[in-house]
């Protein structure tokens, strides 16, 4: 192997699992499937009276002969056994007593090769492991809380292996680590609570910790021994040492340990749901080797902690999330029951603010912004929503450092450094948001984490392990607590419920609309029939009253006056019936679109009105009369009613002035009908178009309260618009705007 210079540019690529060296406390032999020795660590000569070169390329039996001259160990058979069992776990370690020295043989398979690693059986600790472990587990698990569990575990490990310092080191999502438990010799400085940057244990190292659940670095001051192999086609093929226990350590890591003053290091991986949760990191300041059995015992403790970790961590999460779950359940139940979505999730006992650990929440729904708890202000929310609309790829978005991503959010970093957003409808810009406040926290780093790189004597930027582990404090701003996986899951679940409720609400409204439409049609039919049927008896009343008046000469004046009143009443009733018929007819009729000559139409109406209403001094002026597109009968009715009102209600002005003119504005033709009459109190603006509604100031004028209702109905039927400007005692202007082209009903 060529010398592999590690610098910043290739650090992530350093093949540390194939360093081609082993630690000096043992030696490594690798054989191929035919039991030919293919690799051999050079330091075999430190243990046995043989040189590596003498064994390379020879049968494993040659090594057996050197280990135990004249005896058969049966290494070959053991390899076959392990091969068939697909594991060497039951065989490892195999003890070989060679003269005065005894070895633990640890076997493993890698690709087509078998690794045979020989290491001392003697250990710094010689204790009854069975007993110790039994006691340890009981002690460890007695801790009710995770913190106690970890402290107990550190304590037990320290007893088991006797290292100077045992730390439990927890990884966070970004890879940096924190010492969460520590047991140490009294004279040592505490590392508890310190944070270590992610670069201290690079990603590929963390991957190896997931495979090798324990790892010993026996002595940082011994020189690693190179592994020799016979070149194939002139080249040496490296061997994968991933599963090797003797695997030499990355020079950077050795330097790192040396800088800390550590001589021996031992670590046990802590796993949580198949991920590396943390490490039990053990340091000794003098060389301290622990043998295979002690390491296996430690591994067992690590595994027990790992499973307890899962249990304890779940238990703690559970306790914390129970309240959130209750709130979620309440909301979900309510949403399924039906009702106003926004009221359910923002106004009841449980609101969206209660489903996760947030201090503020916002619902943007149906053009409303509903704020709960501590949130940015309306303006800021609007801006944030626009930013989310541009940048949100998924249904859910979360950050615990919003101000770092979105500069404007710095204004309100105190209330909303953490944002969890969840869309309801992306098109409508409808969503739910949760906020977490800024946590100005102080992190105590073991050394300055921003200076992992140094410039060496040659002026090259080199990744060098930190030499200073003095506490380096950092204040973190614009950052909130992180959103947990559970919070995000709850919010997504809630989203499903809310979307479901929204859809159902929309369907309910649609059904209601259908029913309303049907009721409307029935009402139209009803009013049409009833009006029609009323006419016949009404005409009998009028006919006979007139007949009596006409033919009976013996009636006195009083009787004649009474009969005239009957006739007058019948006339009024007849007119009312006619109007109601007209109104219901608009609802039933289909529109026939025609281009209407408005000048003629308006002139006809005007001459009819002058006669009918008897207003001889009327000043009527007609401006431009652009044609309208609509149903001739209905449009006639609209202008007849509006002009009738204009003339009627200005009749007492001197002189009454009525003006009609139209003009084209954009895609519409807008007509205005103005008068100088009594005017409309605009407080009643919404009601002037209601059926049978008449304003107080026109009681003295004849009218049914149907005219404007008909107008409104026709206007709606044409998809046109009507509005009014008016001042009491000054006059009124009605505007009607019809679409210039195309089918108005489209």
């Amino acid at each position: 192997m060529s010398d592999y210079k590690v610098d910043l540019t290739n650090c992530d690529k350093e093949p540390i699992h194939i360093p081609g060296k082993v630690q000096a406390h043992g030696f490594l032999v690798a054989v191929d499937s035919k039991c030919i020795i293919t690799y051999l660590s050079e330091n075999i000569s430190d243990f046995l009276p043989v040189k590596a070169e003498e064994l390379l390329g020879n049968d494993l039996k040659n090594l057996e002969q050197i280990l135990l001259p004249g005896e058969t160990i049966g290494l070959n058979q053991m390899l076959q056994l392990g091969k068939h069992a697909k594991s060497f776990e039951t065989i490892n370690p195999f003890r070989i007593d060679s003269g005065d020295v005894s070895y633990n043989l640890i076997m493993s398979q890698v690709a087509n090769f078998y690794l045979l690693e020989f290491e001392p059986t003697s250990s710094a600790t010689e204790i009854d492991i069975q007993k110790t472990i039994g006691r340890s587990v009981t002690e460890m698990l007695s801790g009710k809380q995770l913190k106690h569990l970890l402290n107990n575990a550190a304590e037990q490990i320290k007893t088991l292996i006797g290292y100077d310092r045992v730390m439990i080191y927890k990884f966070s999502d970004d890879g940096h680590g924190e010492v969460v438990a520590e047991v140490k010799e009294n004279h040592l400085d505490p590392f508890l609570g310190l944070h270590y940057p992610a670069s201290d244990i690079p990603k590929q190292a963390r991957e190896l910790y997931k495979i090798n659940l324990t790892r010993i670095i026996a002595d940082v001051d011994t020189e690693a021994s190179p592994i020799l192999t016979l070149p194939v086609n002139g080249e040496a093929q490296p061997i994968d040492l991933t599963h090797s226990t003797l695997r030499a350590v990355s020079p950077i890591h050795i330097q790192y340990l040396k800088n800390m003053g550590v001589a021996s290091s031992f670590s046990i991986s802590l796993m949580y749901r198949d991920e590396l949760w943390g490490l039990i990191a053990c340091h000794n300041y003098t060389p301290r080797f622990i043998n295979y059995k002690a390491r296996e015992a430690s591994k067992l403790i690590g595994q027990i902690i790992s499973s307890a970790l899962e249990f304890k961590q779940d238990e703690e999460l559970l306790a914390r999330s129970e309240d959130y779950k209750a709130a979620y359940d309440a909301l979900s139940r309510q949403l399924r029951k039906g009702g106003s979505v926004s009221s359910i999730i923002t106004e009841q006992n449980s609101t969206i603010l209660d489903v996760c650990d947030a201090t503020g929440a916002v619902l943007i729904f149906e053009d409303q912004v509903i704020k709960l708890g501590q949130t940015p202000n309306d303006e800021q929310i609007k801006e944030l929503n626009a930013w989310l609309k541009r940048n949100m790829q998924d249904r859910v978005f979360h950050t615990h450092q919003l101000p770092e991503l979105h500069n404007q959010a710095k204004e309100y970093s105190d209330v909303a450094s953490g944002l969890l957003a969840c869309t309801l409808s992306k098109e409508m810009g409808e969503l739910m948001m949760w906020f977490k406040p800024e946590q100005v926290t102080t992190i105590n780093w073991a050394g300055n984490p921003e200076k992992p790189a140094e410039i060496d004597e040659q002026g090259q930027l080199t990744l060098s392990p930190r030499k200073s582990f003095d506490v380096w404090s950092q204040t973190v701003k614009n950052t909130s607590d992180r959103w947990t996986r559970e919070e995000i899951a709850t919010v997504l679940k809630l989203r499903e419920d809310v979307v479901y409720a929204i859809n159902r609400q929309a369907n309910e409204i649609r059904t209601l609309n259908e029913k309303l439409k049907q009721a409307y049609e029935e009402l139209d039919t009803f009013s049409f029939t009833i009006s029609h049927d009323l006419r016949t008896p009404l005409s009998t009343i009028k006919n006979y009253s007139e007949l009596l008046l006409e033919s009976n000469t013996s009636l006195d004046d009083d009787a004649r006056r009474i009969l005239k009143k009957v006739i007058g009443g019948a006339d009024k009733l007849n007119f009312l019936i006619k109007e109601v018929l007209n109104y219901s007819r608009v609802g039933r009729a289909e529109i026939e679109y025609n281009q209407i000559d408005m000048e003629r139409l308006l002139k006809d109406i005007k001459s009819d009105l002058v006669v009918a209403l008897n207003v001889p001094n009327l000043e009527f002026s007609l401006g431009d009369t652009p044609p309208l597109l609509g149903d001739r009968t209905m449009i006639t009715q609209v202008f007849a009613n509006l002009l009738n009102n204009a003339v009627k209600y200005s009749a007492k002005s001197n002189p009454p002035k009525v003006k009609v003119s139209g003009k084209e504005i954009n895609s519409e033709v807008v007509y205005e009908i103005s008068d100088n009459g009594v005017g409309i109190d605009l407080n009643y603006y919404n009601r002037i178009f209601d059926l049978f509604k008449r304003m107080d100031n026109v009681r003295s004028y004849e009218g049914t309260g149907v005219g404007l209702a008909i107008v409104k109905r026709i206007i709606e039927k044409h998809n046109a618009r009507i509005w009014v400007e008016s001042e009491l005692g000054v006059g009124t202007i009605f505007y009607v705007a019809f679409k210039k082209s195309g089918n108005g009903s489209a």
Partner: protein
């Protein structure tokens, strides 16, 4: 049986009374009016007239009738060769454009909305009689 000037098919007694009185007041009371109160009966009456080779000079038909409806009666009349050219008017309280159109499409010679009030009825019948009995020529 001699042919009436006007055959009037109407089921409302009051209105029949009013029309009879009004007819008596116009044309010097000389207009012969025959009223039938049922659509089917009206058809029988007309058949009898046709057998006797006579026909009314004008037929007034209300829309809502027991037996045969006004429109059906109208269609039968217009399908009968001997009666085809007798002016037949629909005389109804309705002023609904739909009614007016279907009536004309079914062959009505005119659609007249019954006026409100005796005086208006007299006026209306007077002008009907003026036009349909005294002005036009019939085949």
């Amino acid at each position: 049986m001699g042919a009436p000037d006007i055959l009037y098919i109407e089921d409302n007694e009051d209105f029949i009374d009013v029309v009879e009185r009004a007819i008596g007041q116009i044309n010097g009371g000389k207009t012969k009016l025959h009223v039938v109160e049922d659509g089917t009966l009206a058809l029988n009456t007309l058949d009898t007239l046709v057998e006797n080779k006579v026909k009314p000079r004008l037929i007034l038909i209300d829309l809502n009738l027991p037996g045969l409806s006004g429109l059906d009666l109208l269609r039968k009349i217009k399908e009968t060769p001997a009666l085809r050219y007798v002016p037949a008017l629909i005389f109804s309280t309705s002023d609904n454009p739909v009614d007016i159109r279907t009536s004309l499409e079914s062959g009505a010679n005119a659609f007249v909305t019954k006026p409100m009030g005796y005086n208006n009825v007299v006026k209306c019948l007077n002008s009907i009689s003026d036009f349909w009995l005294n002005t036009i020529s019939v085949a």
